[in-house]
Amino acid sequence: MTDTKIAKMTAKDVHVFYGDNHAVKGISLDLHQDEVTALIGPSGCGKSTFLRCLNRMNDTVATCRVEGKITLDNEDIYDPSIDVVQLRARVGMVFQKPNPFPKSIYDNVAYGPRIHGLAQSRTDLDEIVTVSLEKAGLWNEVKDRLDSPGTALSGGQQQRLCIARAIAVNPEVILMDEPCSALDPIATAKVEALIDELKGRYAIAIVTHSMQQAARVSQKTAFFHMGDLVEHGDTTDIFTSPKEERTRDYITGRFG
């Protein structure tokens, strides 16, 4: 896709191998601020693998090899000079299963700012925690029990806590891998409303198996199939008049 806007993140001809398994086959995709990109496609097509390349989560997988170029603000994120911890603060991630630390709600959110030295004082830190929880739409529900364990929250609250944790370090990009798959429709709607809220400040990529969720939250949709990017375009176009037969078959439920 050629875009006139300057991309926040750019992936160019990205290939990923797990040993001999060629999981991602030359994907080029841009992420923009102000925009949510939904990654859809059948299980095993490489969505999570691609997403994890964007903040180098795949570094921890010994067999994994990434080729191609991924830049954040035109800077190659695989350049040896890049500080990976710093990168993951700028490119935050929210996972399928809410995974709060076994710590208090406060400490869950304060953890990142502490290790990145974002707060000069306790007052600073309080401020960051409050604002992050507010942005994540969780403040009102937890403000009276910041000391209780994050794991004691409901699944939907835990997921919003994880989003608060991700945004506490001032990221520029947020990656979400099936963030609502364990949530009920109300909690899902809250997370989706939150994604709408957040999209002005961050570039967001979300992996989802729900076509309706992709249609609801994203402005761009990318359809992956067997490691290829089959089609990428405006979400409204993809869901009304997809160009590729494989895209149509997948989103209309005609696959296999």
Partner: protein, 236 residues
């Protein structure tokens, strides 16, 4: 196109398609029946056409219900979404065709009471053209033939031209025989009805085309040679 993994989804869409097709067939029958009644001054037949219109109304309601079920249960997207939305619009358009046929039947009843009068030949010619448009557009729908839909859409001009001639012919007769202006006005309106049936078929063609290709059939309206539309009094 492949079937859906969920067979029931295909069944629901097939049902919706069947209703649309039936409506197309019925609208054609109604047009043929109305013209036969007119040519034969057959008030029984005209009465039947008027009564049969109810079936089209009912089918439109059935289609709406079937479409709502698909929306609620399947959240259709892409080709399926276009198909369901187009079905709703098409049934509305076909129901209108039926209304025009019914109006012809109603006028036939009035004309029959006015004593013998020569029916303008051109009305038959218009009706044949309109019928062919309905047949072809429904054929395009059933066989997903976008080219045929486009062809029907382009052919609307033929009917428009016939309508213009009919208008001039009938107007001429009005001037020759002012005492027949009452019955001739009915013919004028019947010509208009036939032209409107063609318009509906054209609109159906647009829907068929969009369903198949996902792009609108040329937004830009082709130049109309229809001079009558602004001069005619509106139908009752």
């Amino acid at each position: 196109m492949n079937d859906h993994t969920v067979k029931a989804y295909d069944d629901e869409l097939r049902e919706l398609r069947a209703i649309v097709s039936r409506m197309g067939g019925l609208a054609e029958d109604q047009l043929v029946g109305a013209m036969e009644a007119l040519n034969e001054f057959d008030t029984d037949k005209a009465g039947q056409v008027r009564a049969s219109d109810q079936a089209l109304d009912q089918l439109e309601i059935d289609a709406e219900k079937a479409a709502i079920v698909v929306f609620a249960r399947r959240a259709p997207v892409a080709d399926d979404l276009r198909e369901v939305v187009s079905s709703l619009k098409m049934t509305g358009l076909i129901e209108r065709m039926g209304d025009y046929a019914k109006n012809i039947a109603k006028r036939t009843l009035a004309i029959s009471e006015m004593g013998p009068v020569a029916i303008p030949q051109i009305l038959d010619q218009m009706a044949r053209e309109a019928r062919k448009m309905i047949q072809d557009v429904m054929d395009a729908y059933v066989h997903r033939n976008a080219n045929l839909a486009m062809e029907v859409w382009e052919r609307d001009e033929v009917l428009d031209n016939l309508h213009n001639s009919a208008y001039r012919t009938i107007l001429g007769r009005m001037m020759e025989s002012p005492e027949k202006i009452g019955v001739l006005t009915h013919f004028l309106m019947i010509a208009k009805n036939l032209e409107r049936i063609g318009d509906q078929a054209t609109n159906v063609a647009e829907q068929v085309y969009y369903t198949i290709n996902g792009v609108m059939l040329e937004e830009a309206r082709r130049p109309k040679h229809d001079v009558t539309s602004t001069e005619l009094v509106t139908d009752d």
